[in-house]
């Protein structure tokens, strides 16, 4: 099951050239661009691991694509996303976030139903991949 989240989530995966152009748009708007990765695709997993610092002072998107490819070398089978922060309101807020790398196989989520008081049902989802400990989920 293809995990979708963030901007452009219903488009096919971007090529490096397309990523470059989107990132350049962010930089031209004065946003700081950052790369993050994770192997836990749960939708409520908001805070991913940071790949290096957010890039505040690179005028060209080539730097971000370069770092992305460095990140792919190590975490090529993880989810990697690009996030653009806007600090102009006085706090850091996310303007744009999109997935740029995903595992070759995405097993999807398990839906579990729990019957609780009054025959009500509670639903929860668990990624199948999270059965394994962190770091050994995608190969």
């Amino acid at each position: 099951m293809r995990v979708t989240q963030g901007t452009f989530s219903f488009l096919p995966d971007f090529t490096d050239q397309q990523i470059h152009e989107q990132v350049q748009y962010c930089i031209d708007n004065g946003w700081a661009v950052s790369i993050e990765y994770t192997d836990d695709p749960h939708p409520r997993n908001t805070y991913w691991e940071m790949w290096g610092h957010p890039m505040f002072d690179n005028p060209d998107a080539a730097a971000v694509v370069y770092e992305l490819n460095e990140c792919r070398k190590i975490y090529g089978s993880y989810y990697i996303r690009i996030i653009a922060f806007d600090s102009s309101p006085g706090w850091e807020s996310i303007r744009l976030s999109f997935i740029v790398n995903r595992p070759p196989e995405e097993p999807g989520f398990k839906l579990s139903r729990t019957e609780v008081k009054g025959r009500n049902i509670q639903y929860s989802i668990t990624p199948y991949s999270s059965d394994n400990p962190q770091g050994s989920r995608y190969k």
Partner: protein, 304 residues
Amino acid sequence: MENEGQEQESEIVTEVNLKEDFQASGVADILAELDNSLIGLTPVKTRIKETASLLLVDKAREKLGLVNESPTLHMSFSGNPGTGKTTVALKMANLLFRLGYVRKGHLVTVTRDDLVGQYIGHTAPKTKEVLKKAMGGVLFIDEAYYLYRPENERDYGQEAIEILLQVMENNRDDLVVILAGYKDKMDKFFESNPGFRSRIAHHIEFPDYSNNELLEIAEVMVASMNYHFNKESKKAMAEYIKIRKKQPHFANARSIRNAIDRARLRQANRVFNNSKGPIGASFLSQIEDIDIRQSRVFSGGIDK
């Protein structure tokens, strides 16, 4: 790759107008500016003009579908201090930007300290950070030969060189690297790092300025600060240049700038001490020969 083929089919270009391309790119302005704002440096200007026309023709060939590999644009500027290497690098960045060979056209100036770390594992991130900042523009490495210190086996400079070479090769479209430094030391540096020599296509030498050119530079500098020489002070400046040039640590245009700064200091002092009553603008911006002749250079000392 497939898309590119389709695009070329849809708009078939059969001829290009070099003159129009030249006008449209705005390169003419930069070359004219180069001619006007920089005194002397004829060989450098010729080389830059040659490079500019090569790049322009390359772009035209690309339009016609005559495939050629993207040219290697990394350069080395060798010459004595104060011969205008940084100034030309700045113009070069602008020129490459107008020609469409770099995307942003900014210049990042660094020296060894900005690239090489102090402990193990410090160098690679530092160098990469600088390279990332320079992407889309021009990276200017001043006194590049200090990167390589053969006398110290454990020097981290070598690591910086390796990363540099790698990025220079793999990200050729993303940034242009210009190495600069003294002629003899640069030659030695290239000898011991053959990888650099082969990756740099343009070796440009900056000649020293002649006395007349230095005097012209002095006049331009003074004019840009809204001061002016009179006949005597111009003569004094010419003599100053002649003597200063023979002394050690002479740094061409930079020495001239320093001399002018000190002359302004003395001028201000003189004006302040002698002023009685109101004075006009021309008096305030006049550099007298006494302002220059008070320099230690004339009594056998050295102005640093």
